[in-house]
């Protein structure tokens, strides 16, 4: 674990995860993904379906953390995959994971969403049950509230910091995958994740009135 990160965790009273702070390198590719993508590029919907099943939850979470509303997250996720499928003919495999292309579409869709629709209701005054997907409805109320606080804090970060936090600490993408998805170097991602966590902690401290 880098000394700076360890010092930061200790300073903030955070319990650093055992071993390395960096999540383990995990590749989130499907078996035979390249063939599936190739068939999908040729217009085979049967090849796109497994890609949808595999990447849809990841993109949904990415969008959900950014927009906060379940309905909006669903709409945007649907648009992301519709756009991906309709434009799959333009996809060119250049060694980057397929997910980085989907993340790119998702980022653009989120930007379009915020451009088209200014937030009408303060997110903090709404019922947390409204935000949290049914899949984690079994969590107790205090956990859901804490998660919502963190989500609101993430939403206050710069967009690129949001991306790094989601990819590195929620989706457990490797440095390499995150770097490819964000078109940055691994060194830049390391620096950004450090700053993003520091900023996130500061926002959370402000929220709790420390």
């Amino acid at each position: 674990m880098p000394l700076v990160q360890r010092a930061f965790c200790l300073e903030k009273g955070l319990v650093p995860p055992p071993g390395n702070l960096n999540p383990p390198i995990t590749f989130h590719m499907l078996d035979g993904e390249e063939k599936l993508i190739g068939d999908a590029v040729k217009g085979k919907s049967s090849a796109f379906a497994p890609l949808y099943d595999h990447y849809q939850p990841m993109i949904y979470r990415f969008v959900f953390v950014k927009v906060g509303r379940r309905e909006d997250a669903e709409d945007i996720t649907h648009q992301v995959f519709l756009s991906a499928w309709q434009n799959i003919g333009n996809y060119k495999h250049r060694g980057h994971p397929f997910s980085s292309w989907l993340y790119q579409i998702a980022r653009n869709q989120v930007v379009d969403h915020y451009r088209a629709k200014k937030s009408e209701v303060s997110l903090e005054v709404m019922d947390p049950d409204y935000f949290v997907a049914p899949a984690i409805a079994h969590f107790d109320l205090s956990t859901k509230l804490e998660m919502e606080k963190v989500r609101v804090a993430i939403a206050q970060l710069k967009p690129e910091y949001q991306d790094v936090v989601i990819m590195r600490f929620i989706e457990d993408l490797s440095l390499k995958e995150s770097a490819q998805a964000l078109a940055k170097t691994e060194g830049a991602i390391k620096l950004m994740q450090h700053r993003a966590i520091k900023e996130l902690q500061r926002v959370l401290d402000e929220q709790s009135g420390k």
Binding site: L14, V15, F48, Y52, T77, L82, F139
Partner: protein, 169 residues
């Protein structure tokens, strides 16, 4: 619960299964919009070559057309009579002559009005001679043409306009 543990909890968020099913079905019901291009095709390559060639030829044709039209009208050498060196020279010569004649007339008029009758003719001739010989107005003995002729009191009575009128007559 620490921040990192909370962040990990987010991974448990899953989209609604009903939404997933509906969305999946709706998306896969569509056909890809973008033209699907796979591999190399001789027909496509030939068509691209033809397209590029046609574009270059058309551009070249228009460039020639435009530059040809300009060179025929705007950029051909134009002769202006006002800038002809010979006519300019002739004009300059004519101006010099007029000035000299005006000075002669002026000097004659002044001499006649100021000199006695007995010496009027030779004096006017003597006054006029240096002016006729030099264009700069200097006399051979170093003085100016006007300085040898009139006095200041007489000069005030005869203006250049009057001298010119006399010349016209």
């Amino acid at each position: 619960m620490t921040l990192f543990e909370l962040l990990k909890q987010f991974k448990k968020i899953e989209p609604d299964t009903a939404f997933t099913e509906t969305s999946r079905r709706a998306i896969l019901a569509h056909e890809p919009v973008a033209p699907i291009a796979h591999g190399w095709s001789a027909q496509r390559t030939l068509w691209k070559i033809f397209e590029t060639g046609a574009a270059v030829a058309l551009t070249g044709f228009f460039v020639l057309l435009i530059t040809g039209a300009f060179s025929g009208t705007r950029f051909s050498p134009v002769q202006y009579s006002a800038l002809d060196p010979q006519s300019l020279h002739a004009e300059a010569q004519a101006i010099d002559i007029q000035v000299q004649l005006a000075n002669v007339n002026y000097a004659e008029a002044v001499a006649e009005s100021t000199m006695p009758t007995s010496v009027r003719k030779p004096a006017s001739a003597a006054a006029a001679r240096p002016l006729l010989t030099t264009a700069s107005g200097t006399t051979p003995n170093g003085g100016t043409g006007t300085a040898t002729g009139p006095t200041s009191s007489v000069t005030s009575t005869l203006t250049i306009d009057q001298a010119l009128q006399g010349l016209a007559k």
